[in-house]
């Protein structure tokens, strides 16, 4: 018997595929709507020490308006033969109630018997699954409730007002860093940006081995990697070994999580070799797989996790609290010259989940090249920023020491008094501290590789939408089975001065290599995403640390230049073999 989590995932997967393909959602539009998933468990009458679980997946509002329900049910049952759970549809065609807009809500129910512990695990798995989905479908919301023997727990998953990076084909990556990694313990708000800044890599075509049987694809599998550091420092540190872990997230077509979970299936053999995707030796890092599968976390659980091996050779359990995490997103999409059918997507998905290792092995060199390039870029930016900062620190220290030497050596009390008063320092020691701080503050913003978010924030302060004033939804997660302890990752949160869903723009990475100034100043700004010819997702890079006064003019100019450049690149946008 299939578990609740697997069944929920399969249904959600089917729903999203159907939603995208058959309900004429325009290609670039984000899927929008709310789904309610509820599980009610009662002591089973047929099995001892088991709960009879009734899982309901329902839409709220106009999600699936226009869907032919009977057909949908027939299709899903034919595609999910493995699901032996009883799958029912509560509304017959013509007998369902309609809301004011004439749109049809729907409800699907299945029932399984499970052990309480299995149900508990499944609930955690479902939560992680939902988090993964909303990370790339930020306009989909989930209401997840579990009721076991009368005890109810409800949790809401949604990231609607969080900053995102528009990718392609109707998906967008949420870039709020708190979803991906914990901040280092020693961090203050000042040190790290609240967002990650993904760098998108060159899309590469995946090769399917000849011995992999299955469907004949009328298109190509394209893998697009994205890399980001999390948390992203506002001012870069000077140590690459502040990276303590790597998290790899796998997404299939239409932004569906590719592998359900690492505890359901073993990590693919391909990823067991930590150097299969990235050559870590060049950064003097030694990575080992992280097998700590802690479900009880608020963060989006990666599909594959590596840890930097400590010097003593032992793995620290909590290294992710101490350093940065390198996030690697692998988006596998299906491109075809023909309109893609739902069954085709389903088939591709099945192909990927069953033969992922073989496909990655077959395409190893192109995949590795693409990923290595952007990892090099991100870490190189890091390195360049650190060098620039070091270059700055030395002369500033010299300047400060020289001034202090004159001040402390002066016999003119009026001069000393004036200096102290100007900086409002009580004594020379405090004066020295303030002097150094002032020098750092004044010089840093000019040419340190500052996180561009701060510039953008200043530009978009006026664009706060009304949702900013929304307060946190009450936290009802007191369920015994769900042991979330910290702030809910998917819950609505007060905005922290950041605008609502914001499109961060990226240039075409493959169309041009970043110039040295961009590489040096780009911070962790996103770079490359395939674009639609319409230029709707035209990208620019905020590679210059612009002075606030000039930022808006600079970004408008860059917008215009990029739109012009993108308009000429339609032939690049059609699927093509990788590098």
């Amino acid at each position: 018997m299939e578990g609740t989590a697997v069944t929920v995932f399969e249904i959600l997967r089917f729903l999203i595929i159907h939603w995208k393909c058959d309900i004429e959602v325009s290609k670039g539009a984000l899927l929008e709507g709310q789904l309610v998933i509820s599980i009610e468990g009662l002591n089973s009458k047929h099995q001892t020490n088991a709960l009879h679980c009734v899982t309901t997946i329902a839409s709220a509002g106009s999600l699936f308006g226009g869907m032919v329900l009977k057909k949908f049910l027939k299709e899903i049952q034919s595609l999910l033969p493995r699901i032996s759970a009883k799958l029912t549809w509560t509304s017959e065609e013509g007998s369902y109630s309609q809301d004011m807009t004439g749109v049809t809500p729907f409800q699907m129910i299945f029932e399984v018997d499970e052990k309480p512990r299995t149900l508990m695990t499944d609930c955690l798995v479902i939560k992680h699954l939902l988090r993964k989905i909303i990370m790339v479908h930020p306009k989909i919301r989930f209401n997840f409730s579990v009721k076991v023997n009368g005890i109810l727990s409800t949790e809401f998953f949604g990231v609607e007002n969080e900053p995102t990076l528009n990718l392609w084909n109707g998906i967008a990556l949420v870039v709020d860093s708190q979803h991906y990694a914990s901040r280092p313990k020693f961090d203050t708000i000042e040190s790290y940006c609240s967002r990650i800044h993904p760098v998108l890599g060159h899309p590469v075509m995946l090769f399917i081995p000849d011995d992999v049987t299955g469907m004949d694809l009328l298109g190509e599998l394209i893998l697009t990697p994205a890399v980001a550091l999390c948390p992203s420092p506002k001012v870069f540190s000077n140590q690459l070994d502040s990276i303590s872990s790597v998290s790899i997230f796998l997404y299939g077509p239409l932004g569906l999580p590719l592998i359900l979970s690492t505890w359901e299936q073993p990590v693919t053999t391909f990823f067991k070799d930590t150097s299969s995707l990235i050559d870590w030796k060049k950064y003097h890092l030694c990575m080992v797989p992280n097998l700590d599968l802690n479900l009880d976390r608020d963060l989006v659980l990666p599909d594959v996790s590596y840890q930097v091996e400590s010097r003593e050779g032992d793995q620290s359990q909590n290294m992710d609290l101490q350093g940065q995490t390198l996030l690697l997103f692998l988006f596998v999409d299906f491109h075809s010259a023909f309109p893609v059918q739902q069954m085709e997507i389903w088939g591709v998905y099945t192909l990927l989940t069953t033969h992922l290792t073989a496909i990655l092995v077959e395409s190893h060199s192109v995949v590795q090249d693409s990923i290595q390039f952007i990892v090099d870029q991100v870490l190189e930016q890091h390195h360049q920023a650190a060098k620039a900062q070091q270059k700055l620190q030395a002369p500033l220290s010299v300047a400060v020491n020289s001034i202090m030497s004159i001040l402390t050596g002066s016999t003119r009390s009026s001069f000393r008094k004036m200096c102290l008063q100007t900086l409002q320092a009580a004594d020379t020691q405090e004066f020295g501290t303030k002097l150094h701080k002032l020098f750092c503050e004044i010089t840093q913003h000019q040419f340190l590789h500052r996180c561009s978010c701060e510039v953008k924030q200043q530009l978009t302060l006026e664009k706060k939408d009304s949702a900013q004033s929304t307060e946190d939804a009450p936290d009802n997660s007191s369920l015994e089975l769900l042991t979330d302890t910290r702030g809910q990752a998917g819950n609505k949160r007060l905005k922290r001065g950041s605008p609502s869903v914001e499109e961060m723009r990226t240039p075409l990475h493959s169309a041009r290599a970043p110039s040295p100034s961009e590489a040096a100043l780009g911070g962790s700004d996103p770079t490359a995403a395939p674009l639609t010819p319409s230029g709707r997702e035209a990208c620019e890079t905020h590679s210059r640390a612009l002075e606030p006064g000039r930022a808006s003019l600079g970004s408008r100019l860059e917008d215009a230049l990029w739109l012009q450049e993108v308009a000429n690149l339609s032939e690049w946008l059609s699927p093509s073999p990788g590098p």
Binding site: A388, K391, L392, V398, A399, I403, C419
Partner: protein
Amino acid sequence: MAFAPMGPEASFFEVLDRHRESLLTALRRGGGEPPSGGSHLASSSEVLASIENIIQDIITSLARNEAPAFMIDNRSSWENIKFEDSVGLQMVSHCTTRKIKSDSPKSVQKFALILKILSMIYKLVQSNTYATKRDIYYTDSQLFGNQTVVDNIINDISCMLRVSRRSLHILSTSKGLIAGNLRYIEEDGTKVNCTCGATAVAVPSNIQGIWNLVSDAKFVLIVEKDATFQRLLDDNFCNKMSPCIMITGKGVPDLNTRLLVKKLWDTFHIPVFTLVDADPHGIEIMCIYKYGSMSMSFEAHHLTVPAIRWLGLLPSDLKRLNVPKDSLIPLTKRDQMKLDSILRRPYVTCQPFWRKEMEIMADSKMKAEIQALTFLSSDYLSRVYLPNKLKFGGWI
């Protein structure tokens, strides 16, 4: 019994004496010495106050959240240089400046080094001690990188504060030599007598400090090269042409040598002649003594002696003396570029005879060292060439 120094008879110096008279007349007509502009010899308290003012400005900028910066005159820009016959090259009053910003990656290092050297100067002035530019470099050679950086910053500071380098308590190492009819007392009381026969005296490092200069010299001869200077010493030139003073900067003169020449002129107002190779490099060295250099134009008033005359080796002498071709050297491309550059300089316009000599050199495309005269005889220079030039006014 005191022996009078050997020297020509008094009539030998008639032309020289007349020349000196004309110089004095010109000086009187010009209203005496030109007013000292640019840098001056500031007192210690003035220097300390200037530095403290700079620090105050920096701190005030920081308190206003503005990145502090130094405004430095563009010393090495021709657009900031003017020529005056009485002074030579000097900086214009409203010259262009450049900003050394603390918030620019390109200039933050220099900004810091300026502050570093200012703090060192502050300590030197406060403690009334002196250091050479080399000493300063070696306090942190890694920080400074090379000597040129230190030299330039010191000059920039001198220009910025409008005080002489001496006032900053920074000395330059002297490499020059002096010999002849001259004695003086150094700042520490040491009595120096340059009448030493076969040996010469090093140019002192504290020119401003020497006093009680005494000399009967009829002229000062500036010799470009140490080799020529030594040759003249060996030939006992100072005694044969006594009373005279001979000085060499051993090539491009250092600041102290130039200061000493200036001091000799200011003190004695006797004719000053140069003996340089007949090549563009020699002419340029001569121009430095006479008109000053671009880089030190802000201190022109203390360094230049516009009254200097070119005694030899003139390009026209080469033809006149039938110096054989194999003693001549073709001008290199670099020589030609330098010659063209000198010909374009503002001061050449008021030196038609110099221009003519340079044009002879340009036309012949040949140069010669003073040593070329040895083809006639080994002591031709000291025995014939120079005495004749001095006796018959062979200078331009």
